[in-house]
Symmetry: C2
Subunit: 251 residues, 2 copies
């Protein structure tokens, strides 16, 4: 019997023309593109697991995936082969052999997402930002998201799905302000469906003066999703980094 190799890859993708990570019949998905590439390279149909199941239109600079094959191909050759067959909008940045039993989703101990908002209309890079048309206060943005640290139940920011447990640990969040951009980064053990986009949408409602500065705190305390602002658009969101116990990977 041949032994299996578990592969761990860091991948980058432009989510614009994908219906998200997860395979769906009749849709172009990142998981589908990666699994098709593996089938072409190794002649094997394998299931690929991702650290973050990003939605349609969401990008990734540092998504981590894992899969297991019987192939003994070298990592160097595998990396070359991947980027030769993948479509332009997906890139394998790095590939390693992972320890026995490794799973990109269950073993991830922190995920970092970045959300980019633009004050101004722009054409170059417009697929990577949410452009807002009203003035917002930088101070209020920072104040609004201040309560979002520590052990939290984020059901108030999450679209309900199969999962009933919305507890997580948020390690940090911060805003960076550039000339025309406001960039939010948040790191947590795990996120739920639409969580980051709902946090950003709520913070923007505060920062434009439509809601009180304690809005996000009230959503955390009550778990009441009806209090949250409109979910910010997918195009502004990017999965930038995933952390594992073995921090060598995912950097």
């Amino acid at each position: 019997m041949k032994s299996e190799t578990i592969w761990r890859c860091i991948i980058e993708y432009d989510g614009t023309e994908f219906a998200g990570w997860q395979i769906q019949p009749g849709q172009r998905t990142v998981q589908g593109a990666v699994e098709d590439s593996i089938a072409r390279i190794l002649g094997e149909r394998v299931r690929v697991v991702a650290a973050g199941r990003t939605d349609a239109g969401v990008h990734a600079l540092g998504q981590v995936i894992s899969f297991s094959t019987a192939s003994g191909m070298s990592t160097r050759k595998m990396l070359k082969a991947f980027n030769a067959v993948l479509p332009d909008d997906v890139t394998v940045v790095r590939i390693d052999e992972a320890p026995v039993g490794f799973d990109a989703r269950y073993d991830a101990c922190a995920r970092t997402y970045r959300y980019t908002i633009s004050h101004t209309r722009c054409s170059i890079g417009r697929s990577y930002k949410w452009r807002i048309r009203y003035p917002v206060s930088h101070e209020l943005l920072a104040e609004a998201t201040r309560p979002l640290v520590g052990k939290l139940d984020l059901r108030g920011f999450s679209k309900r799905n199969e999962d009933d447990d919305y507890r997580t640990i948020v390690y940090k969040n911060d805003w960076t302000f550039k000339e025309n951009e406001m960039i939010f980064e948040i790191t947590a053990i795990r996120f739920f469906h639409h969580t980051v986009r709902s946090i950003v949408g709520s913070a923007v409602e505060v920062a434009r003066g439509k809601e009180k500065p304690d809005l996000l705190e009230r959503i955390i305390i009550t778990g009441d999703r009806s209090l949250a602002g409109p979910t910010a658009p997918a195009c502004g969101l990017c999965l930038v980094h995933v952390e594992y116990e073995d921090t060598y990977y995912g950097k």
Copy 2:
């Protein structure tokens, strides 16, 4: 008789889905998109002139255009109207009333183009870079383009067309090196067809060791286009700035 207003606009565009600046029958062009917008806003069909007639796939952050209308609309209203009707991939960044007789093309006294090369495959932002697969020397890139300053005849770097005069003045050129990117900027009174892309293509041939470091000097001296390297792809090129006597504009 109504007096005409001359408008001067700074525009940004993502050239990916345009067949260049200049109107061509049956093609989607930037000039066509801008003229269609004016027709929708003012009900007038006018001819728009651009400082740089960029090719298919070439981008602009600071293209300058001019046109003349009989409308007395305010600049503020005109800016809003433009960005309400233009497609996403064209943005009017600024609009001003220009002095009588102003022409964005003939009055421009310097144009700056930027060319971006990437060492690595990337998916995010891939429409704005030329990705090269071989190692190149930063030192040789800088050495190769050093002779490109001053009064020069650039016929050796230019695709021949109606214009027989290839003399220009290059004010400056320089390279910036980032982790994965090599960025070339060049400012000259005027450029010809494919000039910047041919300069970059030739410099890369030097920097990868296929040609001697004096290649660009020999092309300048001989005017022999057959010596030049392959023309670099359009997607890496961006018109970033146009200068006028009245330097207030185009900044």
